[in-house]
């Protein structure tokens, strides 16, 4: 046990603090306003060594790159290598997005972060009646392997790390397969590929619900299939990125965000072990995707707590031996929901400090939202400004010069412990229900998030949560001071392509491929193995998803 100060000193500090609080601090007016973090954790006026007296430095904090990883997952952190600048890009037909990727890489981005349009995310072709109006919106349209080829044309996929924000398994299983198949067709060995897929089943069943979704347990299965496939064939790929960011955008609190991603990761681990995989064969590649929201210190505490919790679960519950299994690695996106349509340039300030909290919390990669986030898909200027924000933080503020600079702060350590407590309580509750898949099926998660979201909105409307420009310091604004982004024409382009492809491909081959998918569902085999081959026949995403829906049926999520 290594204690920082001996007991008598702590007692004295505590006494002095009580004196200070009663006699010096008490505001003249009497009843004090309540101070809470964004997630509702009460915040005291002051924290002293007495608040962290019970901490054991070696066991609770340790050193970077070592158990319990609270101070950072790597030994050198940003002194050795800065976080990856990973800016999102994706819109319209793949030809357009390909150009934006190249632009960002030229300007200094060190990885690709690709988003897909709504039809693609939901498993529909651009031309599908459900999808037509949304083709090219919210991301790039991918219908066949041909689109994947165009999207990465001229980009060295063996050297650059590509994050595919495939959101949910129904999208991931096909789109990811297309990426791998494309690589094979470019003679890039799968074991050279680096990157990440989102592939989070909660995204599909709880967060971004769409028509005709698969039931949670099948969505979950697709997710695990992809992880299994990658573990065997694409060992440098992170096959899943638990999307805490999206849960947060939907309205949940910081502790819920951490609890849900960890519960999800735990469930995946259990399933993969059940399938016969060794925990150390897949755990090093599980990755996390978290938000950086408005409450500066709460976010920093959240990241540190998450690392400690994950470490303990992996070590104690799953008996992982490889140190890489014990590290919670995460990508951060600054909170879109915290940005405003009013006075959009203010968002530059917001995103800057959100990103700073991510960095002080030890993120492995960061995407900063564009200031026009609330209005449109980012323009080139706002993308560039966001990239520059990252670069200024990295190169000018010198926060990278030392590791975990806030370590030891009485406040930050206490808050870290508090977030951990709350998160563990939620994890226990989920365990009690039988795990996260069950919690999704019964609608428990939907309810938790929906409650938090409602409270959040109430807080804004009552003014309890000030948002500059929205509920305070509003201004009359006659016109938007910037250019909005116009999504380029997509539907017709994709339509043409699909027509051509349907004419040129071998119909019988496609049908065989789709049959193979159906059979695999029946036999409970690994679907990615089958779909990687299927996409090579130029079967469309819609056709493959259709086959899955036929086999698994669709699900009506509970309404609140």
């Amino acid at each position: 046990m290594s204690r920082l100060f001996d007991n008598s000193v702590i007692e004295e500090i505590d006494r002095e603090k009580n004196r200070w609080h009663k006699q010096v601090y008490q505001p003249a007016e009497g009843v004090e306003k309540v101070f809470e973090t964004l997630s509702g954790i009460p915040v005291e006026p002051l924290y002293t060594p007495a608040d962290t007296a019970g901490m054991d430095y070696l066991n609770d904090l340790g050193f970077p790159g070592e158990e319990p990883y609270v101070r950072g997952v790597h030994p050198t952190m940003y002194r050795g290598r800065t976080w990856t600048l990973r800016q999102l890009a994706g819109f319209g037909p793949p030809e357009e997005t390909n150009m934006r990727y190249k632009f960002l890489l030229k300007e200094g981005a060190t990885g690709i972060n690709g988003v897909f349009d709504y039809p693609t995310l939901r498993g529909f072709d651009s031309t599908d009646p459900f999808a037509r109006a949304d083709a090219g919106r919210g991301g790039v349209a991918i219908d066949t392997i041909e689109d994947m080829r165009i999207l990465f044309d001229g980009i060295s996929i063996d050297k650059i790390s590509s994050s595919l924000v495939t959101c949910q398994p129904i999208c991931n299983i096909t789109v990811q397969s297309m990426y791998f198949a494309n690589a094979q067709m470019r003679n890039v060995p799968l074991d050279k590929l680096t990157g990440t897929s989102q592939n989070d089943f909660l995204m599909e069943t709880v967060i971004t619900v769409a028509p005709e979704i698969l039931p949670p347990k099948f969505s979950f299965k697709l997710s695990c299939d992809a992880i299994e496939y990658c573990t065997k064939h694409v060992p440098r790929w992170n096959p899943i990125s638990f999307a805490g960011y999206n849960y947060r955008e939907a309205g949940c609190s910081a502790a819920q965000e951490v609890a849900f991603v960890i519960a999800n990761a735990t469930a995946c681990s259990e399933e993969l072990i059940r399938r016969g995989l060794d925990v150390d064969s897949f755990a090093p590649r599980l990755s996390f995707f978290l938000s950086a929201h408005s409450d500066f210190f709460e976010e920093i505490a959240k990241y540190r707590a998450a690392r400690r919790i994950w470490f303990r679960i992996m070590k104690e519950r799953f008996g992982a031996k490889d140190p890489r299994s014990l590290r919670l690695r995460f990508h951060v996106q600054t909170a879109g929901v915290a940005l405003t349509a009013q006075q959009p340039l203010n968002n530059i300030s917001r995103a800057a400090y959100h990103a700073l909290s991510a960095v002080l919390g030890g993120a492995q990669s960061v995407h900063i939202d564009g200031y026009d986030e609330a209005l449109c898909t980012p323009t080139e200027l706002s993308s560039l400004t966001a990239l520059r924000t990252n670069q200024i933080l990295q190169l000018e503020t010198r926060v990278t010069h030392t590791i975990d600079p806030l370590g030891g702060s009485y406040f930050v350590e206490t808050l870290t412990n508090k977030v951990e407590e709350e998160t563990l309580r939620l994890l226990d509750e989920i365990d009690g229900m039988g795990g996260i898949v069950k919690a999704g099926e019964t609608g428990w998660i939907h309810k938790e998030i929906s409650n938090s979201a409602y409270e959040y909105q109430q807080a804004i409307e009552s003014g309890k949560m000030p948002i500059v420009g929205v509920n305070c310091y509003q201004m009359e604004e006659k016109e938007l001071p910037m250019e909005l982004f116009e999504v380029p024409e997509t539907l017709q382009i994709q339509e043409q392509k699909l027509k051509k492809i349907r004419n040129e491909r071998n119909g019988a081959q496609v049908q065989d491929a789709l049959d193979a998918v159906a059979q695999c569902c029946e036999k409970d085999g690994n679907l990615m193995e089958v779909i990687v081959e299927a996409v090579k026949t130029r079967a469309t995403q819609g056709e493959i998803s259709g086959a899955l829906r036929s086999s698994y049926g669709t699900w009506e999520p509970p309404l609140f």
């Binding site: 917001r350 933080l393 503020t397 000030p466």
Partner: protein, 547 residues
């Protein structure tokens, strides 16, 4: 516990970048990979940190800090003509600013009226307001509640005259002098060291300073008569630790002078305030503010035997770093200003000015001013950092850095002492040498790419940027000059002459000049005339050019 060993392992085993030396902060301190409890093993939380509002005030000078009241949002509100400046001030107050800073134009700064031949082409320059006579002060303050709004006059060598005009206008408006709040920068030492808008040699300048101090002591007890400024030293090139050391040394010199003029330390020290720059290095800045508070408190108590706790409190106005902003990719400056502002707040500043993003190419427009203001409001209302006091206390890094800053300061104090004190050091060229060296190193580092400035020496883009000089009303200078001519024609010439004689006599003696100045400005004697007479008595100072 062996953090030392761990650090060695980290530094040798990890993929460190070439040259661990590259991890230095702006003050040149080598930053370790990791800080742990043993880096602050000698820290005594009670004597070194204390509690907010209690000696040594490291954790903050007020007991409730931002939980009860956020820092003052103090934005610059001047524009060439007094009436336009008045308009801008009212605009800012409406937008949510809670304090105003006013700058003077070049001629006024140099003690010259708008009709002075040397003022040609510079009247109303640089967004500063042209003040020639009490009439201008009246227009400037039209409709503003002098006892409610805190105005910071960025006035130095001429501050005795500006103060006289301010007091005179207050009296005219029947506002009791003892109700007036606000600040006069009035820090002549930093003029010799950095900003160079001095007129007289150091000794007479110090006399004027103590005159204003005594006057405020007696008549304007709520007014801050000196804002001891580090910002200008930093802008001239001083590193953060040099800024800290030199500013505090100047502060101690003023305290000595005040005591030398017969004032008791507790009668004026509570009203001394400070003005620091917020540099780009996020943590270094936070450490600087905390070290500043601790050093000031200890010195005031131990060396100057201050008894009143308010004498030991270091109150800070901070401004984000103008010299860190770029002309290229101006939107990037919003980010710099945001992180710097956050750093100032985490460091516990009492008031803050955030620069506009177009700083490098023009005087702020209303729009860019507003954005700068909003940045502060976002930090105050949305980020939650105000929820607790001194949140970074206990952080091994921040506490270690605070201690290191403090130690370095004492080294500089020793050097200055060995040279015979601040004024003697000025005369010996000590500051000129150090600041010129630091400024040159900085530029060298940028050109050699050892120091990155995004958009300038890294990630550069071809851009069609241009300087946007504020379009001063072309007729403004003429208008001002003719207005002044009128004023001079219509005043009581005999009275003016008598007042100027009076000033000459008092200057030659040792009585307090303020009463004579107030009488003079009420009689429409101009600023240039007053300074002219003083120059006749005190002489003019020329510095040795060291670069």
């Amino acid at each position: 516990m062996n953090n030392q060993k761990a650090t060695e392992t980290i530094e040798s085993g990890g993929k460190g970048s070439s040259g661990e030396d590259s991890f230095k902060n702006l003050s040149g301190f080598k930053i370790k990979a990791l800080y742990g409890p043993e880096d602050i093993s000698h820290l005594n939380p009670e004597t070194d940190l204390g509690l907010p509002g209690e000696y040594p005030f490291t954790r903050g000078i007020h007991k409730t800090m931002y939980r009860q009241r956020p820092w003052t949002i103090r934005q610059l509100g001047s524009l060439d003509s007094p009436s336009r400046a008045n308009e801008r001030i009212r605009q800012l107050l409406e937008m949510g600013a809670t304090g105003i800073s006013l700058c003077l134009d070049m001629p006024t700064i140099m003690g010259r009226d708008s009709d002075d031949p040397l003022a040609e082409g510079e009247v109303g320059s640089c967004g500063g307001v042209a003040i020639d006579s009490i009439e201008d002060m009246r227009n400037l303050l039209e409709g503003i509640s002098l006892d409610e709004i805190s105005i910071n006059f960025v006035s130095n060598s001429q501050s005795s005259v500006i103060l006289a005009m301010f007091a005179a206008v207050a009296e005219e408006r029947h506002v009791p002098l003892e109700k007036l709040t606000g600040t006069m920068q009035n820090d002549i030492l930093k003029e010799y060291q950095a900003q160079k808008s001095f007129y007289f040699p150091p000794r007479p300048s110090m006399r004027l300073t103590t005159d204003t101090l005594s006057f405020c002591n007696e008549h304007m007890p709520r007014f801050n008569p000196i804002s001891i400024s580090g910002y200008h030293l930093a802008s001239a090139g001083a590193t953060p630790v040099q800024e800290l050391a030199f500013t505090l040394a100047n502060g101690f010199t003023y305290v000595e002078e005040g005591i030398g003029a017969g004032l008791s330390v507790d009668s004026f020290a509570p009203r001394l305030s400070f003005f620091f720059k917020v540099h780009n290095d996020f943590f270094e800045n936070i450490a600087k503010f905390r070290a500043a508070r601790r050093i000031w408190a200890k010195t005031m108590r131990e060396r100057f035997k201050a008894k009143d706790r308010r004498s030991c409190i270091l109150r800070v106005h901070a401004q984000t770093s103008g010299s860190s902003l770029t002309a290229h990719q101006a939107e990037n400056n919003i980010i710099r200003v945001t992180t710097q502002a956050l750093s100032a707040v985490l460091g516990g500043t009492q008031s803050l000015h955030t620069n506009s993003f177009d700083e490098a190419v023009s005087i702020p427009t209303a729009r860019s001013e507003k954005l700068a203001l909003r940045t502060q409001q976002i930090i105050a209302r949305e980020s939650g950092v105000i929820n607790t006091i001194d949140p970074l206390a206990g952080s091994y890094y921040v506490e270690a850095l605070t201690n290191q800053m403090e130690t370095e300061c004492y080294n500089y104090f020793k050097e200055i002492e060995n040279l015979g004190g601040v004024i003697s050091a000025i005369e010996k060229g000590y500051y000129a040498r150090i600041i010129a060296d630091s400024a040159f190193s900085y530029q060298e580092e940028i050109e050699k790419r050892k120091r990155t400035v995004v958009g300038l020496n890294e990630f550069f883009e071809e851009e069609d940027i241009d300087i946007e000089l504020r379009k001063t009303d072309p007729g403004f200078e003429d208008e001002k000059v003719s207005g002044l001519t009128e004023l001079k024609k219509n005043r009581d010439q005999a009275l003016v002459k008598a007042c100027l004689n009076d000033i000459r006599e008092v200057s030659q003696g040792s009585n307090n000049l303020m009463p004579a100045l107030i009488k003079a400005v009420k009689s429409y004697v101009t600023l240039g005339e007053i300074i002219g007479v003083m120059k006749g008595v005190f002489g003019e100072y020329r510095e040795d050019s060291i670069y």
